[in-house]
Symmetry: C2
Subunit: 387 residues, 2 copies
C-alpha cells in the first residue's frame, strides 16, 4: 500500500443551519478543503461522502453524486458510505484506501448531516435507525439508555462519581467556548451540571451531545504526488475499521466496546506507535461517560481510571494526553455523518499548530469514531509529516 | 492490483416477501453464497452491503453491521454503500477493491432492498431520493417522466416504434417466465402490451419494472488464494464506477447516459476485450426504453439501432449478444439495492453453464447498473476462469 498524506481540510461551523440544504453544507466544506490543499478539482480521483440519515430526514440520497455534480468534480467514482455515527470515519478510510491501493492519486472525503430542521420525534426515530430494532427494540433501550447503563456499571465497578464525570463535561464545554466552529461552549460548575435536567438516569442534559448540522471535508493525496503542495502535510499512519455486536445484548461488557479495543490495537500496530506517543485525540464522546470508556478502550488511560484521570486533568491540555480539544461531540456538536471527518479536521489543525486550543508540540494525533451500539468503529493515527 | 475471482453466489427469489425483514433476506442470500463458495465465515475479510432506501422505508440503517452480526462474520470492516439504483454494483466494486488492493483475501457483497410492504406513495417518495430534488423537483419530472422523454427523443431521432420497444418487453417477460427467481414472466403479444395502462406517455405498464423485495450475494476471493475452491471460478476482468450529472438538465443528450458510455469504455480497456467479445449481458432495463439506450451506450449495438436490433432478435439468446436472460429488471424485478449484485449472480450462472435461460458457450459476460438520472454507473466484465 502507498503512503498517503492529508493535504487540505475544510469545515462549516457545527450547529444550526436552518436555511442550508445538506448539499450546500457539504459543498462549503469541500470547497474549503480543495482550496486549502491548493489542488485543482480535475486531480480528484474519488469522492466519498459519509452520511447517516439524509434519506429519512431530508428525502435525499445519492449525495455523493449530488455533491460531485455541484462541486464540478470530474466523472469519477462517487460513493456514499454509511455506518451510523461512524459514517464519517468510514468515508475517510475509503478515501485513504482508494489512494493507498493505487486506484487514484488524490481523493476528497466529505462528512455531512442536517438534523436540526426536523421535529425531535422524527430525529429520534431516525437516530434509532442505528440500532438493531428487531432484537433490542423490544427492550425499549435507546442510546441514552445504553450509555446510562454503561455509566452505572462503571460506577459500580470502579467507583466513578458524578463529579468525576462532570470533569469531562467541564473540560469539553470550556474547549468548545474557544473553538469558533463549535456549536456551544460554557464555563460550567459541578453544581450547574448536577442541577441540569435528567435525561436518562444518571445522564443529565450536559452529559449529552446536541442535535447538530454541519459538514467537514479532507483532501488526501499520495505522498509520492505531494511534492508541490504548499501546506504542512499530515501522514496517515493508520486508519482501521472494525465492527462489534449490533445488539446491546451481544456485548460481553457494557463498560467497553470491543470494536474500539480492536481498532486501536490494529491502529497502533499499523502505525508502529504506542499509546504513550499520542499527543492529542478526538474521540467519540456522544455522552460524557463515553469519553471515559473510550479513553480506556483506546489504551490511553489504564482500565477503570478514565474518570479519575479526567478529574485529575490528565486528559486536558497539558496533561498526559489531550482529549477532545475541539470541544468534542458534547460541545462542538454531532452532525452524525460529519463527525468522523470533523475529527480528522481538528487533529490536522493541531498537528499544523493552528488550533484554537493548541497542544504544545503536537506531533501525533488520533481520531476515534464509533457507530450505533458499538457496531462500527474507525481509529486513525495521524502524524505531522515533518515531525 | 491482484486478480480477483468470484467463488460463490446466492440469491433470494426477487418479488414480494411481506413477512421477511430486510436483514433476513440479506442473510438468506449471503448464507447461500458462502455455502456455494464452500468458504468458512472466518475467512471473510470485508463485507459490503448495497442498499438504497432502507432508512426511509424500514427505519433501519447500519445494515452492514446488522447483517455481519447475524451471519456470524468476524469483526471485519462492514460497510453499507449507496448510489441509488447502482448501490449493488458499487458494493460489488468495493468488495473487489478490498481484495485487489491486498487489504484482504476474501470478501462478501450483499445487495438488498425491501419495498413492497410500503404504501405506493411512500415508495415513490423514497425512490425520488435518487433525484436532484432541489434542481429537478420544480419541473415535476419523476423517473418515468425522464425515460418517457428519452423514448420520445429516440423515436424522433431514429424512428423507434412502439412495436420495436415491445420486442424488449416480450423478450424479457418470456425469459422471466423461465427464471424461477424472477418476480414475474409472461408470454405477451404486441397487442397486449399496447393495450396496457398508460403510465407516462409513451411508457405503458409493461414498459416499467415492478416494485420488488429481494437480496443477492457474491463471495469474491483473491485468485492466488482460490486453489482449493471447488466451484467453476469466474474472473473479474474489470469493474468500473463512474458518475454523470445528477440533474436531468445536466445531461447533454436525453438519449444517452455519459456515465454508461464512460464506464463501458474503461471496462473494455481494463479487461482488454471489445464489445464483440461479450456473450451475455445483464443491463439496467428499469424501463423498456432504457434497455435500448443502454445497449447503445455500452457499445453492444450501433448508435440508434437499439430498437431495430431488439425487434430483429439480435439481442435475444442466439442473436449477436444475449441481453437480460434473467428477465431483467422488467421481469426479474428491481429490489433497488440488490439489482447490481443480482446481475453478477445471473452472469455467473451463465458462465458456469447453469442458467435457466442458458446462452450456449457463454464465456464472457457483462453487468451494467445505473443509478438515479444517470448520476452513478458501474460496468463489470466477467470471464469463466477456465475459458
Amino acid at each position: 500500500m502507498r503512503d498517503v498524506v492529508i493535504a487540505g481540510i475544510g469545515s462549516t461551523p457545527f450547529g444550526r443551519h436552518p436555511e442550508a440544504t445538506i448539499e450546500s453544507l457539504a459543498i462549503w466544506a469541500a470547497a474549503e478543503a480543495l482550496s486549502d490543499a491548493g489542488i485543482e478539482r480535475d486531480r480528484i480521483g474519488a469522492l466519498y461522502v459519509g452520511n447517516f440519515i439524509s434519506g429519512p430526514l431530508n428525502g435525499k440520497e445519492v449525495l455523493a453524486g449530488l455533491v460531485a455534480d455541484q462541486l464540478g468534480l470530474p466523472n469519477i467514482p462517487c460513493t456514499k458510505v454509511e455506518g451510523a455515527c461512524a459514517s464519517g470515519g468510514i468515508a475517510f478510510r475509503h478515501a485513504w484506501m482508494s489512494i493507498a491501493s493505487g486506484m487514484c492519486d488524490a481523493a476528497l472525503v466529505v462528512g455531512v448531516e442536517t438534523m436540526s430542521h426536523a421535529p425531535t420525534s422524527q430525529t429520534t426515530s431516525a437516530l434509532n435507525c442505528a440500532m438493531d430494532n428487531e432484537n433490542d427494540g423490544p427492550s425499549g433501550l435507546t442510546f441514552p439508555g445504553l450509555f446510562g447503563l454503561s455509566w452505572r456499571v462503571h460506577a459500580e465497578r470502579y467507583g466513578t462519581t458524578r463529579e468525576q464525570v462532570s470533569a469531562v463535561v467541564r473540560k469539553n464545554k470550556s474547549y468548545g467556548l474557544r473553538n469558533p466552529l463549535a456549536q456551544m461552549g460554557a464555563t460550567l460548575t459541578n453544581e450547574q451540571i448536577a442541577a441540569s435536567p435528567n435525561i436518562c438516569d444518571p445522564l443529565q442534559l450536559y452529559d449529552c451531545c446536541p442535535t447538530s448540522d454541519g459538514a467537514a471535508a479532507v483532501v488526501l493525496v499520495a505522498k509520492s504526488a505531494s511534492a508541490e503542495l504548499k501546506n504542512t502535510l499530515v501522514d496517515v499512519l493508520a486508519t482501521v475499521q472494525t465492527r462489534g455486536s449490533a445488539r446491546i445484548s451481544g456485548h460481553p461488557d457494557l463498560c467497553s466496546f470491543e470494536a474500539t479495543v480492536q481498532a486501536a490495537h490494529l491502529a497502533y500496530q499499523h502505525a508502529c506507535v504506542s499509546p504513550a506517543d499520542i499527543d492529542v485525540v478526538e474521540l467519540h464522546d456522544c455522552f460524557s461517560i463515553a469519553e471515559i470508556i473510550d479513553s480506556e478502550d483506546l489504551g490511553l488511560v489504564p482500565r477503570g481510571l478514565g474518570a479519575v484521570w479526567a478529574a485529575e486533568g490528565r486528559t486536558s491540555i497539558g496533561g498526559d494526553v489531550a482529549i477532545n480539544t475541539s470541544g468534542g461531540l458534547l460541545s462542538k456538536g454531532h452532525p452524525v455523518g460529519a463527525t468522523g471527518v470533523g475529527q480528522v479536521f481538528e487533529i490536522v489543525r493541531q498537528l499544523r499548530g493552528q488550533h484554537p486550543n493548541q497542544v504544545d508540540e503536537a506531533r501525533i494525533g488520533m481520531t476515534h469514531n464509533l457507530g450505533g451500539t458499538g457496531v462500527a468503529c474507525t481509529v486513525s493515527i495521524l502524524r505531522r509529516s515533518d515531525a
